[in-house]
Symmetry: C2
Subunit: 427 residues, 2 copies
Amino acid sequence: MNQPLKINLTKELLELENFIIHRSCDIEQWFRTQWLENQAPFYGSVDLRNSGFKLAPVDMNLFPGGFNNLNPDFSPLAIQASSVAIEKVCPEAKRVLIIPEKHTRNLFYLKNLYQLKEILKNSGLEVRIGSVDTSILESTNIDIDENQFITIEPISRREDFLFLKNKDGTEFIPCSIILNNDLSGGVPEIIKNLGQQIIPPINAGWPTRKKSSHFHFYSQVAKEFSILTNSDPWLIDPLSEKLDNLDFSAGEGEDRLEETIDSLLDQIQKKYSEYNISQDPYIVVKANAGTYGMGVMTVKSSSEAINLNRKMRKKMSVIKEGMSVSEVLVQEGIHTEETINAAVAEPVVYMIDHFVVGGFYRVHTSKGKDENLNSPGMHFEPVAFETSCLMPDQGRPCHDKANRFYAYGVIARLSMLAASKELAERK
Amino acid sequence: MNQPLKINLTKELLELENFIIHRSCDIEQWFRTQWLENQAPFYGSVDLRNSGFKLAPVDMNLFPGGFNNLNPDFSPLAIQASSVAIEKVCPEAKRVLIIPEKHTRNLFYLKNLYQLKEILKNSGLEVRIGSVDTSILESTNIDIDENQFITIEPISRREDFLFLKNKDGTEFIPCSIILNNDLSGGVPEIIKNLGQQIIPPINAGWPTRKKSSHFHFYSQVAKEFSILTNSDPWLIDPLSEKLDNLDFSAGEGEDRLEETIDSLLDQIQKKYSEYNISQDPYIVVKANAGTYGMGVMTVKSSSEAINLNRKMRKKMSVIKEGMSVSEVLVQEGIHTEETINAAVAEPVVYMIDHFVVGGFYRVHTSKGKDENLNSPGMHFEPVAFETSCLMPDQGRPCHDKANRFYAYGVIARLSMLAASKELAERK
């Protein structure tokens, strides 16, 4: 990334970043004790927003799909982290099966799969990819680059285990299954009640996971962390509220939505006034379970939400693979103030186990700073982080890339820690 | 390293390298199960030799002193590995004290200390350096580069713990002590019977450690590994024999030394004949406990060893810090056939916990290929490995750098595994 990354921080956020950079030993020690008590998920990615007065996660993905966007220079870091993760969860494993998302036509996603496979392979596993997509009837090679292709195979099941059929009639029986499918479309029958270990577990998928639960635990983690940094947890924590029993197409629950939005906008405005922030507060309403930017709307007033036009209603009422939305998370919007060459830039941090293995910016030239950057059909330019997130340089200013990325890695790990607690609760 | 690295391999070694590259999954899985049963030392470095017909460790150092020679691009790898090691051995630690070697005038060693300190700091520890050298009476800054200096402080002890005095009268009390001193000169009183944890433990130092014990365990490990690779363990294991109760200055034990050398030369010659190797076998006689290339002699016949001149006898009879040699390891010499720009090159692999974090070549232009490259006053040019040792590329030939370095990392880890067993036995 040779483009200059631009953002101005308020005094409070600068103080927090300063603390993070200069007290990195305290922070790492704090994390060490946290990871003694909490088992990190196998992998994850966190979408961050930096508004200059607030630096916080807006989404935590337990089935990350952008390994291809990371800086290839840091692949060894991902391999090493993956080795540690495998030692923890399946040390005896030799063969693993990746179960990917169904959208096999998305070239970017296929490149992600390729990278994920390479990481796992280099950490010492025999890896094959088997899809739960029943339209895949035979082993299929898909070109993803001039000299690279990826093979996606149909999965077979016998009793309580999955396997792939080899061409010579033998079978590939995986010791463990790595899930890279967030199960937004429901849990496919074929992966239910397996004898093989599924990593992350099925209950990390959207049929059981709730964003509200993640942010509930995140708020706890942010509070604890803020005691350490002696700062206002709001600086790193988006306010949010859960609403259930909604029916967008029937208008069911609109009154409660209106109330919640108004109350949240009030709370945000109070915080803005406290910190002399002149920007307009806004709210993001998202499906409480789901992904891929569907079912997300951005509003600056409750009336805006209520006066949804038909198209928007339809958009809100379905998420990926046709699932309908009956529960939403009403969340404080965080302005994206970071820009690269005047284009809005949203940082995404990637982790394997509790190790930050890299990150990238989603850079979008045509969107406004309070719009969701991960919306359907959206075109973004990934810009890999140039340095690792592991080496704060106390002799340099906070906006130095190494320092900014370290701070991003810290906030992302807080979100990963919240995800650990979230998964532990459902065990 | 843009210079071409040159070496020709025999069929057998090529087969072994091929196995290592193409069956990396089996190898990594094998290592995983090994590390489940064996706790790796905190850190270590392994000197390898590649003769084209044999690739083996010749030395395993538990107090590595060349972190400054590693490729800085892979510092994040060392930091991550160090985080894992700290989580295992001292997760609650916040402040650590490095106890370095005494030779504070060796600029290269000081640069190593600086790097080691940076790695530990970035993995989340407050690090200071305190010397057991009683001539250091006050905190001393030593310049190691234009903008870098290192601070070495005198150590204080009260009851069973060490501390450093701060200028303001307060104290720096480390939770743990990282030893980067191989204790060749004996165990200083001040570090005996401490309440603080010492990492690696004192018994990893030369007063207790024996090279013969390392190579005894290494032979076991090499045998097990060779079952996996279905190859002759001799390809990766130097033959060796221990001799004790020697007195070089009094000529005590010369007959036994002569016998051992002759017998070992015989065994090597048999192996050379088996593999049609035309080179002359040779023997390295080294102090069984000790380091820094003192007390090492290279002979091609037993008479050569017996007809030592006075100077050589003196050299053999003392190692670092004036300790005398009464036990030796008589070991098969391994020709150094690797060259970089026609200069002899000896690979050194660095590990933290069981992770390979980098390596470098000791490149020496004026020495012969059967001489010890780590001898006193010897000047070598370190050439950092250009890629990590983590990414074998099965689409490329064995001599591809990434593949060669991966193979080196595998053999070095076998030596690290032997060191684990060696330390466990002395617990």
